[in-house]
Symmetry: C2
Subunit: 397 residues, 2 copies
């Protein structure tokens, strides 16, 4: 698949994914540079200098910041140097001003010797021409942007952000802005998944709410893909019952259709991963909390890859995401054969962080805002006991 690219202004490049390796075009620094305020000298002229036997230098020049160093240094001569200034010809080290003493007219005493190269960054020492600074597939952070700025990159080659279409299905669901009639409920998954998609570095498009109708759902998915969607997320109707249309829609949409139906995950068993032609299509449970957990655990890493993010160019492997430690408040047991993700609320007591499992009947909206993150119970584990310290993965981190 050819992934579309675009040029991005360096001031908006944070969070975008680099579309090609960026190599250094010329040495950095482009001149030998002082790292301290002091005096540029020939190092060998300072050898043996001490407090009691200082070496004396004639101050024959001064380097100003941002200016070419004029003149050159001969034996026994020194130039006054600012931090960041360009070393004059002939000098190979800088004596920090703290180790010098003005000593009459145009003379400075050096009381500590310096080695060649001391307090100097040599031309190319930081970055050598041709070296790859940032790899294709790297999601740029503020530090990376700083490095690109240092190299004079004004327009950064990045991958276009995938456009992800979000479709909600369910006969009882009404679209945002519509007043629910008796027996109807407002669409939660549409806005929530649009938010989750946007926070994952993709562009999100809400394609609307559809009844559980095969032809209409198929047409809606076709329309989104035709309109340029890089992926389609359909929530609701992903189970295996006769009324669950998502697998049939995906199979009719293009080859190979449904690739995986059912994950060894709780919540999230009825998740569907498919491909319609080259376009990934995802079927999520209709239950909002389940849909959002599956998004976090399964879909987000897939969308990041779809956006061109490369595991080799990222700091932390997917299995080692940042978490906070918290003391579990209740036992959490888990059946064998599947990985379980339990939503927890974080509570601070006596300066200590506790994880309180979010219980309550499935489908409650109130539990959505009460859960701060997830505790993962691995497939091979039977669970955790109250009092154990567990890792809590916060939403969106």
């Amino acid at each position: 698949m050819e992934r579309p690219q675009e040029a991005c202004d360096i001031f908006s490049a944070a969070g975008r994914v680099l579309a090609r390796d960026l190599a250094v075009e010329s040495d950095v620094p482009s001149f030998d540079r002082s790292t301290v305020d002091g005096y540029a000298v020939r190092a060998k002229d300072t050898f043996g200098a001490t407090e009691s036997a200082p070496a004396l230098f004639q101050v024959t020049g001064e380097v100003r910041m941002g200016q070419l160093a004029e003149g050159s240094i001969q034996a026994g001569q020194a130039f006054l140097m600012p931090t960041g200034g360009m070393l004059p010809d002939g000098a190979d080290a800088v004596v920090m001003v703290e180790y010098t003493e003005a000593f009459g007219e145009g003379t400075v005493a050096v009381v500590k010797d310096v080695a060649p190269g001391e307090n100097v960054i040599r031309r190319g020492e930081d970055l050598l021409e041709g070296e790859v600074l940032l790899q294709q597939g790297r999601r740029l952070n503020a530090h990376d942007v700083g490095a690109l700025a240092a190299l004079g990159t004004a327009a950064v080659p990045v991958f276009r952000q995938p456009l992800v279409s979000v479709i909600s299905t369910g006969n009882e669901i009404v679209a945002p802005g519509v007043e629910p009639g008796p027996g109807q409920v407002r669409d939660i998954n549409g806005p929530a998944l649009v938010a989750a998609v946007s926070m994952s570095g993709c562009r999100a498009r809400f394609a609307g709410v559809y009844n559980d109708d095969f032809d209409m759902l198929l047409e809606a998915c076709r329309h989104e893909i035709g309109a340029g969607a890089s992926a389609v997320i359909l929530s609701g109707g992903s189970s295996v019952g006769p009324a669950d249309l998502t697998p049939k829609v995906f199979d009719a949409l293009g080859k190979p259709g449904v690739v995986i139906h059912g994950l060894a995950l709780r919540p999230g068993k009825p998740t569907i991963l498919g491909l319609a032609g080259g376009t990934p299509v995802f079927g999520l449970p209709g239950h909002p909390a389940s849909a959002l957990v599956v998004f976090e655990i399964v879909i987000k890493p897939l969308l990041r890859a779809l956006g061109g993010e490369s595991p080799g160019a990222v700091a932390v492997p997917a299995q080692k995401q940042p978490s906070v430690k918290a003391v579990l408040e209740r036992n959490l047991s888990s059946g064998p054969g599947r990985e379980e993700h339990v939503r927890v609320r974080l509570v601070t007591r006596d300066g200590k962080l506790f994880a309180r499992p979010v219980l309550g009947k499935s489908g409650l909206i109130s539990t959505l805002v009460r859960a701060d993150g997830l505790v993962r119970i691995p497939e091979e584990s039977g669970g955790f006991e109250a009092g154990e310290v567990v890792d809590v993965y916060l939403w969106g981190s």
Copy 2:
């Protein structure tokens, strides 16, 4: 300070900060709702039902999803119910379809009794009218957006994102797009801090690069504040030398001027926190790596508060940010009397995560992209030894 607010479409509300408490306007669910597929009944009619002695019911109706339940249930009667459907009058529980058996014309056998309220979410059980669902000062995540959607909130009241102006200073610094002359270097802090500000939920404005000139810097800061900046970040010139103008500029800018000059932090000692009238002004070190570390540790939490984020409304206290565990590759020692933040690179070996301190002369651009995050050495600690497991705080998490 009156913090400006605006209405935000629910589809773009993720990451924004709620400007007022949001209360529930009407009960959720607005009707008694089934949580399973099955039969709505009067619970007492099932009492004592078992496999060997099932209770028989006349199926006198069927509830369809998204429709008002028509008719009512009398003793010995049952309605076929879909998950999410509205309970008919007279029913107070739902028997799961798994515990029933079709038993001739219009009759169903129930083989397990249900308690009143079983498999039902009662009206208002999830959210009661008047209850505060989300607090003012909460930064909205995808789950919160889902809850707002459930309540029918189309326009979300949020605080305007602070506009933060970024100014770079230094005689040797040239603006992005300008080719550096001899002895000059490109501005790194401007683009990097703009990126860091944007990733912290604020709008960023780059105000340009200025020479170390008191009048020009003062005028630049005045102009930014006059143009509506909620905060100004000035990098470079924050030390205590005579050439370091930031403290003088901040003092001239408005009362009280410099509030804190110098933090017990390494890097970051020469950080300045000030207030010009009501506008926070921040002076950061000119050294890019230091400026970015100080931003992460000190400025980011301040900008989040400036944006209206309230500690009481966020999940995790500032001192407990998400981190990854890694094995330290070298000893890290730290002097007493200040908190130290050491940049580390994360390296995976044999599936294990290692933290490799980023060494090298200060000011190297290459170290910017080699550091994945920070290890914090508390003020009272002497450091860590190689082989210890440490917390690594990733950029931007």
